[in-house]
């Protein structure tokens, strides 16, 4: 039962339009830094572009997807109209205004500090204000998800919260709390410095605050993808969800252990001691657990669907899966990329192996494979699945959809595998160009060229995706019926309170973050003389 279709559609369209723009920048960056490019522009354009690409892809695009999909889940799973419709429109308005406010100074070259901010470099204050507006807009969504769940619970005491809504609210809490790290950095450190109220800033402390956001934000991006695995995929291929309870456990684990692990991004940093680095490395290991559980549940759900269709044998059932179905293709390709990306992630989080690849092109390859690959391909699937319900029109260009999904997968592999490889060779990331004539660097030239072609394949796929959606807007009218979620194989008659509510888990989420971040933050605030002069960029001061 989708009622506020225009609201949801507005989120998805805005998300995919900014995605398309940022994708063009990404493909250009791949070319600009490759040996294919012989006519170098001012390197400042490259960093401007990276700032815009990262800000849009990291803060705006996935946030809008989570918000729009979240509203759709709330209405469809709880079977009631969204409470707080006007607030939801205010939320998306803030995200849109924030994006414009942030992108104007970036486009003018006044804030080429990359989306990770990197103080003591300080850009134009409107860049940071824009990012804050985007986050505040998304916090409205966080509140609305919580309110809608509470309203439903009041009328449905002792009933299990539908898994899709449970996961959706878990994702919103995760985002609400993880955004606090970057918000503290922006509000108490960066914005006062950008305004000129103070001229010094503790760069080490800022990096610790940012790490609180930096890792868990990836799980916030991931949640819509996991919701699609659990609640769309089994239904779309005509099967059942293997286990409802395991899904809840997985989402709860993300809420609890996604935050207190961000210091693994700071293994090589001098401002955090070894003890907390090790502790957070251990917690990072824990966060692999929900993914391992999910992979099992989703593969088992696929097997159920296949056997219902007559699939046989230990592995023969894989052939009997409905491979003509775009959701099937997207999910399978997503899991393959999740496998490679996850294995790379275990290397990054490792206390020792990290030094081999820290801040090299490996890291860029890793997060593009996980986020751009495994996660975004499921955003496409979500859009394909929801579109007929949102537009009231048929979406039947299945051949085009499959081509688009395969191209995205191939493009992502061709882009990221060589990217990982040059990282192992030691190629540093985020440089506008490289001297490929240097014998120490020339062995990396071929791989970087391959990546640039991968970028072109991804751009082609992105354009095809937008074509499919636009065609869907002009297709003949067709009734898509009620929007439903996968039914579990065995629905427990009643759930333990712990798997049906968040109180305990939120307490653990906040408690563990305070334990794992309290000491490093407290220590840095206590150490004197670590504030360093701000370095203003892009402006002639």
């Amino acid at each position: 039962m989708l009622i506020n279709k225009r609201l949801i559609l507005a989120h998805f369209w805005l998300a995919f339009i900014v995605f398309g723009a940022a994708l063009v920048l990404g493909a250009w960056q791949m070319f600009e830094r490759s040996p294919l490019n012989v006519w170098h522009l001012n390197p400042e354009f490259y960093y401007r572009s990276v700032t815009a690409h990262g800000t849009v892809m990291g803060y705006v695009f996935p946030t809008l997807i989570a918000m729009g999909f979240g509203y759709a889940i709330s209405e469809a799973a709880l079977e009631r109209p969204l409470v707080g419709r006007r607030w939801a429109w205010a939320g998306i308005a803030l995200v849109a205004i924030g994006s414009v406010v942030a992108m104007v100074p970036v486009s003018l070259g006044l804030a080429s500090v990359l989306y990770t901010f990197y103080p003591p470099m300080i850009g134009n204050v409107f860049y940071y204000i824009g990012v804050v507006l985007v986050v505040v807009g998304s916090w409205i969504w966080v509140a609305l998800m919580s309110i809608n769940l509470a309203v439903w619970k009041r009328d449905n005491r002792d009933k299990p919260v539908p898994l899709a809504m449970f996961a959706n609210v878990a994702g919103s809490y995760l985002w609400g709390w993880t955004a606090v790290g970057a918000a503290l950095e922006l509000i108490f450190q960066i914005i006062p410095t950008a305004l000129g109220l103070t001229t010094t800033i503790d760069a080490g402390l800022a990096r610790v605050f940012f790490s609180w956001t930096l890792h868990a934000i990836v799980y916030f991006w991931l949640i819509p993808t996991y919701i699609a695995y659990y609640t769309i995929f089994p239904r779309a291929i005509g099967g059942r969800l293997y286990s409802d309870a395991m899904g809840r456990v997985a989402f709860i684990m993300f809420v609890v252990v996604a935050m207190p692990i961000g210091v693994h991004h700071l293994f090589a940093d001098p401002q955090v001691g070894a003890g907390f680095k090790f502790m957070q490395s251990v917690f990072t290991g824990l966060v692999a657990l929900p993914t391992l559980l999910t992979v099992f549940t989703i593969c088992a759900s696929a097997e159920i669907a296949s056997r219902l269709r007559g699939g046989r044998g230990a592995f023969g059932w894989i052939r009997a899966l409905p491979w003509e179905n775009p959701i099937m293709v997207a999910t399978a390709l997503s899991l393959v990329m999740l496998g490679f990306g996850g294995a790379g992630g275990l290397i990054n989080m490792s206390y020792q192996l990290n030094t081999s690849i820290h801040n090299t092109q490996w890291v860029t390859g890793h997060f593009h494979l996980i986020f751009g690959g495994a996660i975004v391909i499921m955003y496409f699937a979500i859009a394909y699945d929801l579109w007929p319900h949102l537009t009231g029109r048929t979406l039947d260009s299945y051949g085009l959809m499959r081509t688009q999904l395969w191209l995205w997968f191939i493009g992502m592999i061709v882009t990221t595998f060589p990217w990982h490889y040059v990282g192992i060779l030691g190629m540093p990331r985020r440089m506008a160009f490289y001297d490929y004539a240097n014998p120490a660097i020339s062995p990396q030239a071929f791989s970087v060229t391959m990546s640039a072609f991968g970028g072109l394949i991804l751009l082609t796929s992105g354009i095809l995706f937008l074509i499919v959606l636009v065609r869907g807007q002009f297709a003949p009218r067709g009734e898509a019926g009620a929007y439903t979620f996968a039914i579990p194989l065995h629905m427990p008659a009643r759930l333990p309170v712990a798997l049906n509510s968040f109180g305990l888990w939120l307490a653990l989420m906040i408690g563990l973050t305070v334990v794992n971040y309290g000491y490093p933050i407290g220590q840095l605030m206590a150490v004197r003389n670590t504030s360093v002069p701000a370095v203003y960029v892009g402006a002639s001061r």
Binding site: M121, L346, G426, T530
Partner: protein, 192 residues
């Protein structure tokens, strides 16, 4: 949301028990995998003392050039009384000082480095030597080179619009050559 099934209630219960058992086995295996990985990290961290920097040291970037261990005359490689070598360096937009480090092979070396302005990175290609230079803090890193040779040393963290030009060099020479050089100079570099 109740599950529909053609089976009798008992068979349904049986299927559910089987499903739960298989799931438990997988969950146990997953926990074991994670424990092994974390255990490996703990073992090598403690037994081989391979771990990131342990303690937090500070250095004021506004006075680096005036006093303390990072004054310009003290930068470069120093041969210590115990035969080990200490290399002091700073990163600034957009170069390292010294821009070329000279170090002996097969010798324990301590890198001590910091930044004079923004965040930089310190990476020596072809090795696992990789750390951050954060202004206000001192990076302290034990390293060792197995063989003589030359390496490039790029800054691996975005530090401004000249970031792509921030490449240093490391020259690893054999122990005797290094000792001969150290006999005539207090601090060694290969900046000519």
């Amino acid at each position: 949301m109740t599950s529909e099934t053609d089976h009798s209630h008992d068979e349904h219960g049986l299927g559910e028990a089987v499903a739960a058992r298989i799931e438990r086995r997988w969950a146990t295996l997953s926990v074991v995998i994670i424990c092994v990985l974390v255990g490996l990290a703990a073992f090598f961290g403690i037994y081989h003392a391979t771990m990131p920097q342990g303690r937090v040291e500070t250095a004021d970037p506004t006075t680096l050039h005036l006093s303390g261990e990072f004054v310009e005359s003290n930068l470069g490689s120093a041969l210590e009384a115990d035969g080990s070598v200490t290399v002091r360096a700073i990163g600034q937009q957009y170069s390292f000082t010294p821009q070329c480090l000279v170090v002996p092979a097969e010798t324990p070396i301590t890198i001590r480095a910091t930044s004079a302005d923004v965040v930089h990175g310190f990476l020596i290609e072809g090795t696992n030597i990789n750390t951050m230079l954060v202004p206000g803090y001192v990076s302290d890193l034990p390293i060792r080179f197995n063989a003589p040779g030359e390496h490039v040393m790029p800054c691996q963290e975005f530090c401004g619009i000249g970031h792509q030009g921030m490449w240093g060099k490391v020259k690893v020479v054999d122990q005797t050559a290094f000792r001969n050089m150290a006999a005539s100079k207090r601090r060694l570099t290969c900046v000519d």
